[in-house]
């Protein structure tokens, strides 16, 4: 700690930081542009100038840039000094000389850091009366608008996009006052994190194109704290609503998880909420007389009718199939409705088995499941199989930062402070902490990897075992391959040399052998480190969906599997089935699901989007989307976090748990999410901690609620003026600590209720600093979620492993950030980035088959045959074929092994697939025979 004085007031600050950061930590207002809490200082904008004095006698002082000035004990500074004030006003004046002043038509207006800083710096009247510099804008794809004329050249965009996120196609071009931030040519931004430009840019150069399509000012958006349902990472988000539709998603700071950044699936996938495919009414299939024939027809029911019908159908021996994309509350409600013995987890058996293995590992003392922030701090990461950029992108972004820890260490030795971002990068150049990637194909993290091993799942298991054997000679491998020994030794050495090693995998491969092998390696590593309790070995598994782990935990008490449920349906061993927010065609082989449906067990589905499965339901109940309902989500760490509904859906749509709770259907809604959670926590000791989520929800009385609307929310009475001029009654939310209103207690009281950060003078998302206990610190008085997994008994020995048998051609399943997740894939903007099913093969197989790049092959799996366009890659495991399943093609139908055959080339199809592959960013796409 250091004691400093700013304008005569004494502060205790952290001497490891720069002056700007410490001033902001103290709540002082000092304007800045190029500095970013997560990206450090580069000293470009000069906006944060302050006076520094040598000692008490020094009355003149020296002008310094606060962001580039290390804090020194006893330091004397002034923000208010007239020279500093004058300089800062000159800086803002010259920053603005070419700015178009188009705030009224700019999407950033009202949440613009440039507006805020201009106000703060006291620049009012334009003196520059020459021609402004103007630029041509680029089409950057479906996500991001580009309006370069607004640019103030703070360089944050390229620092985030390139330096931080590893993108290569957004750069600074030209020089002097013509400097331009864009791509070398127009085109879709390649980075999976491009959406963060919207928040990183202090003004309106990069804005959210999907938001523009149905724009509203920040202050007119109704928001609530929410959790991203794009994957199992558990990122915190703030969705915004107006006029009953979801308008956008922005980042909500979480210290341990997403920090300041989201991935593009999480940011742009929200639009599925507004999809034309929404289930908007309860639909019931009834026999109808059509002429002489009796044909089934779907008829809408009122909410009361639907609830009655539901109770009538779901009265007897009913099975319930839960969902990894439904909230914990809805799954609990279903489980309670049908009884635990009739509750089935709605995920594939293999996925369930893998997830159960993961749970066991996560409860093991000595192993530690790192949060995303801890991943960033790891000094050696081993990625096992999981293509994190496509399955849990925010974790991949964290691993990219982890490779920079070597740089920070070097900088500390050279006495360069870690916050001096450019200097640290210049010093370290390409020195990186080890990142070792085992994968069947090249990944988007390969550019920062120290070692990449291309191998099928079985080969990866072999290598993991070999590494474990290097670390612990007592570890006996199930199958030895001498060719892996030197590789294994090198990786073992890197892992044991690290102070905070992490093994990161996932369950995308749905392979228990892979999970066990990863676990065994973590145990061997922990043993080799002699059980260093201060720094346990990190081991974590990305989860595919927002509540995969929550669902598996709920269903843990029984051995129920999805195939068990499907069998019961096929064999008519149930009176009815209730399927919660689930498209079972995505969970099991089509034939298996069809067989189950052929049993004609009455099927009730509760979901919010139409799909092929719920089209078969006798009763389809309209569910609220995650943004329309409260819910608790359990992320990959076992962390349960609360999301609050942003807005109430139009009748009869309601949260699935409301349909499910047994009560008088006339009195709908019946029970609140809070009550479900509280009762469940009381009844199940393993879930008792869930109650810690509740005080924040129940502790506030009705008059002390926090508003979902900002103080300047406008048009409350005008919004409905086209139909009536009365102020409509606000939607009531009796159990919630949030109100659908502008009135209430200030948000600062409880940061876990903080949705849209706003503070006086700080209208942009940068206002978050006013809610942190220090810059980059935790949110004051916020609940970060509760951990549901407690350490259990120590595992005595290594888990036995059966090496997966792979045929001559080992298939692996490709995941895409845009497309693989069911709900976000329904968003229009995301659809512009998705591709149809395709196969990935290596050069050798391509030559054997005589197939050209983007040509076609015939894929055979048992009875099933499908022609697929081919992507020939340089970086693919020998003997492997990657298959991207989308649409009709599901991975479970290919489970028995695949063979491929050549098919004659069709020029028109070739053109079509070439067009399709343009949507993918594949750095190792084979160029050899591309132009045919």
């Amino acid at each position: 700690m250091a004691k400093i004085s700013v304008d005569g007031i004494k502060y205790e600050v952290n001497a490891a930081n720069n002056l700007l950061q410490e001033c902001l930590s103290q709540g002082l207002d000092l304007p800045y542009f190029c500095w970013h809490p997560c990206m450090g200082s580069v000293g470009a904008c000069r906006q944060c100038a302050v006076k520094q004095y040598r000692n008490a006698e020094d009355t003149t002082g020296t002008l310094v840039m606060a962001c580039m000035t290390p804090v020194t004990d006893g330091g004397l500074y002034s923000i208010q000094d007239s020279q500093a004030v004058d300089f800062r006003s000159h800086v803002i004046e010259s920053l603005m000389i070419s700015h178009p002043h188009d705030c009224p038509v700019c999407e950033e207006g009202g949440e613009c850091h440039l507006q805020d800083m201009t106000q703060m710096s006291g620049h009012n009247y334009r003196r520059y009366d020459f021609q402004k510099v103007t630029h041509r804008n680029q089409d950057l794809g479906p996500f991001i608008n580009h309006e370069m004329n607004r640019c103030i050249a703070c360089y944050r965009c390229v620092r985030f996009y390139g330096d931080y996120a590893g993108g290569t196609d957004l750069v600074a071009l030209a020089s002097h006052h013509h400097v331009y931030f864009g791509r070398h040519e127009e085109g879709t931004l390649e980075s999976e994190f491009s959406g963060n430009l919207v928040e990183v840019c202090p003004t309106g150069v990069f804005t959210d194109k999907t938001f523009s399509a149905h724009y509203s000012r920040k202050w007119d958006l109704q928001t609530a704290p929410s959790i991203c349902t794009g994957c199992g990472a558990g990122c915190n988000t703030t969705p915004g609503e107006r006029y009953g539709s979801l308008r956008r998603v922005v980042n909500r700071y979480h210290h341990d998880l997403n920090g300041y950044f989201l991935c593009d699936r999480g940011r742009f996938g929200y639009d599925a909420n507004n999809s034309a495919e929404r289930v908007k009414e309860a639909l019931f299939v009834q026999a109808q007389i059509n002429g002489n024939a009796e044909v089934p027809a779907r008829k809408p029911l009122s909410a009361t009718e639907a609830a009655r019908q539901f109770n009538a159908m779901a009265g007897g021996d009913v099975i319930g199939i839960g969902s990894p994309r439904a909230s914990l509350e809805s799954n609990i409600a279903l489980q309670q409705r049908v009884g635990a013995e009739n509750f089935y987890p709605g995920i594939n058996d293999d996925e369930l088995a893998s997830a159960r293995e993961v749970l066991a590992l996560m409860r093991e003392p000595g192993l530690h499941c790192p949060d995303i922030r801890s991943l960033e701090q790891s000094d050696c990461v081993l990625v096992v199989n999981e293509d994190l950029t496509n399955t849990a992108a925010r974790m991949a972004l964290a691993l990219r930062q982890a490779t920079r820890n070597a740089a920070t260490t070097m900088a500390a030795a050279a006495r360069i402070p870690a916050w001096q971002d450019a200097a640290v990068r210049e010093l370290a150049q390409h020195e990186r902490s080890p990142l070792i990637i085992l994968s069947p194909q090249g990944t988007r993290l390969d550019d920062v990897a120290s070692d990449t091993f291309l191998g099928s799942v079985a080969r990866q298991v072999q290598l993991l075992e070999a590494i474990a054997h290097c670390l612990d000679p007592e570890y006996s491998v199930s199958s030895r391959d001498p060719s892996l020994t030197s590789r294994a030794k090198a990786i073992a050495q890197a892992l044991s040399a690290a102070r905070r090693p992490c093994i990161v995998s996932g369950i995308s491969a749905q392979s228990t052998a892979l999970v066990r092998a990863s676990g065994n390696l973590a145990r061997a590593l922990q043993k080799a480190r002699k059980g260093d309790a201060d720094a346990p070995v990190g081991l974590c598994f990305a989860m595919p969906e927002a509540n995969t782990l929550g669902l598996v935990l709920l269903a843990e008490s029984t051995g129920n599997t999805l195939s068990g449920a499907l069998q019961r349906l096929a064999q008519k061993r149930a009176d009815a089935a209730v399927v919660l927010e689930n498209d079972l065609f995505r969970r099991a082989a089509t034939a298996e699901v069809a067989q189950a449906l052929a049993g004609h067990t009455p099927l009730i589905v509760i979901d919010h989007l139409h799909n092929a499965f719920n089209a078969r339901a006798r009763l389809l109940l309209p569910a609220a989307s995650p943004s329309e309902s409260n819910g608790t989500w359990v992320n990959y760490e076992g962390r349960a976090q609360s999301a609050y509904r942003v807005f109430a859906p139009a009748e009869p749509v309601r949260a699935a748990y409301e349909w499910l709770t047994p009560a008088d259907p006339v009195l709908l809604p019946s029970i609140s999410s809070e009550e479900i959670l509280a009762q469940f926590a009381d009844a199940h000791s393993a879930f008792a901690v869930l109650k810690d989520l509740l005080p924040h929800r129940l502790g506030l009385s009705a008059v002390m609620k926090s508003p979902r609307q900002l103080p300047r929310y406008s048009g409350r009475t005008a919004m409905q003026a086209n139909s009536h001029v009365h102020e409509y009654r606000q939607t009531q939310d009796p159990q919630s600590p949030l109100s659908f209103s502008m009135e209430g207690v200030p948000l600062q009281k409880d940061a876990s209720l903080l949705s849209a950060a706003w503070a006086p003078g700080w209208n942009s998302n940068q206002a978050i600093s006013k809610f942190q206990d220090e810059i980059n610190g935790e949110l004051r008085q916020g609940c970060k979620g509760v951990h549901l997994l407690q350490s259990g008994q120590a595992q005595a020995s290594y888990a036995p492993i059966v090496l997966p048998s792979e045929g001559d051609l080992a298939p692996y399943f490709i995941e895409h950030l845009f497309g693989s997740e069911e709900i976000s894939a329904k968003a229009v903007a995301i659809q512009a980035r998705t591709v149809g099913p395709y196969a990935c093969i290596g050069e050798a197989l391509a030559q054997t088959l005589g197939v050209a790049q983007h040509g076609r092959i015939l894929l055979k799996a048992g009875e099933r045959q499908v022609q697929l366009p081919v992507l020939i890659r340089q970086r693919i495991a020998p003997g492997s074929i990657g298959i991207y399943c989308a649409g009709e093609l599901d991975r479970y139908s290919l489970a028995g092994g695949v063979t491929v055959e050549a098919v004659p080339e069709a020029p028109d199809l070739l053109l079509r697939s070439r067009e399709m592959f343009r949507h993918l960013v594949i750095s190792d796409s084979w160029q050899g025979r591309d132009e045919s």
Partner: protein, 426 residues
Amino acid sequence: MSDRPLTRNIDMRREPFNLQQYRQAEGYGAVLRMLREQAPADVLETVKNSGLKGRGGAGFPTGLKWSFVPTGEGAPKTKYLVVNADEMEPGTFKDRLLMEGDPHLLIEGMIIAAYTIQASTAYIFLRGEYLRAEKLLRQAIAEAREAGLLGPNIQGSGFSLEIILHTSAGRYICGEETALLNALEGKRANPRAKPPFPQVSGLWGKPTIVNNVETICNLPGIVRYGIDWYKKLGKGADAGTKLCGVSGRVKNPGCWELPLGTPIRELLEERAGGMSDGYALRAFLPGGGSTDFLLPEHLDLTLDYDVIGKAGSRLATGTMIILDDQTCPVGMVGNLMRFFSHESCGWCTPCRDGLPWVDAIFQRLERGEGRHEDLDILTEHLTYLGPGRTFCALAPGAMAPLGSALKHFREDFEAHIGSGGCPWPK
């Protein structure tokens, strides 16, 4: 022993000395003896004590700069020497003379510098337009390498050195040593923050010394003839000689090697032959485009770093630009402002957005549309773009001629206002 150690071999009417001729003129003798007999620390001591100051413009003591390079056990093994030959300062052409006139002198100097800091790779960052210098340096490097004066284990000394000649894509900012390093690494030529200084974290993050061509060319003489000789070369407080140039309306514009401490009058009147017939001296920029104007009353000052500094300007590159009495000072300064504005790298706000404003005002003055408030805005920029305000020295350098012009030629600026433009005959 020559009193013109930098230019003694130079005769621009013939080709420069090849290796054989250069060795006949005592070339490489001292450096080979140094490699045999002296430890790097000894050479560092010699250079420190010689009083040599950097000739690139800032005048920082060379030995002191070198002494910041980490040495000993824990120090990084890889170090670099970079010669800044990106001579782009307006009015400056002294390094060109050295490289085109005696390329082996630069190579010999580089061996000394590299040996002292124990760098085994050295770069020459050459201005892209210096095509003849490029050709001659490539020849000389090849000759030296062939003769075993460069390459691995030079003359059995155990010291190895490779010299890589890099030609610049051409930006003024590349003369700023850290921008030069970024450019050499293939990045945007933006300056780097200091600290850390290049001596600690320079090219590719390794300890690096960046020296000007002329600075390096001083080294062979110092090593060959010693400190006492070197100090005596200077007439005043500063040691050694300096290449001094004069451009503008003088009878004999050119570049000469003069002892530091020579009166400016001698340079202008004897070497440059005085003003051209019909022209009188109005003012001059003593050290290139980014120095303050001095007036005829300063002609008797000596060419010393401190003397010129006290008069309110800088010796800098030592190459004078003459303003005569029949040239518009506003036009001259406006030309410089246009140059500096265009050459800003675009990194920091005051320079990137301040200089174009200044430039725009000068153009307006030229068109006769200037206002009195414009002069106030120009004056504000003197502080706004002053030292410590900007990221590097480019903008403060640009403010030097502007500030002194506003002081000395106020009436000329005012004559542009309300008079339909520049009153001077074109």
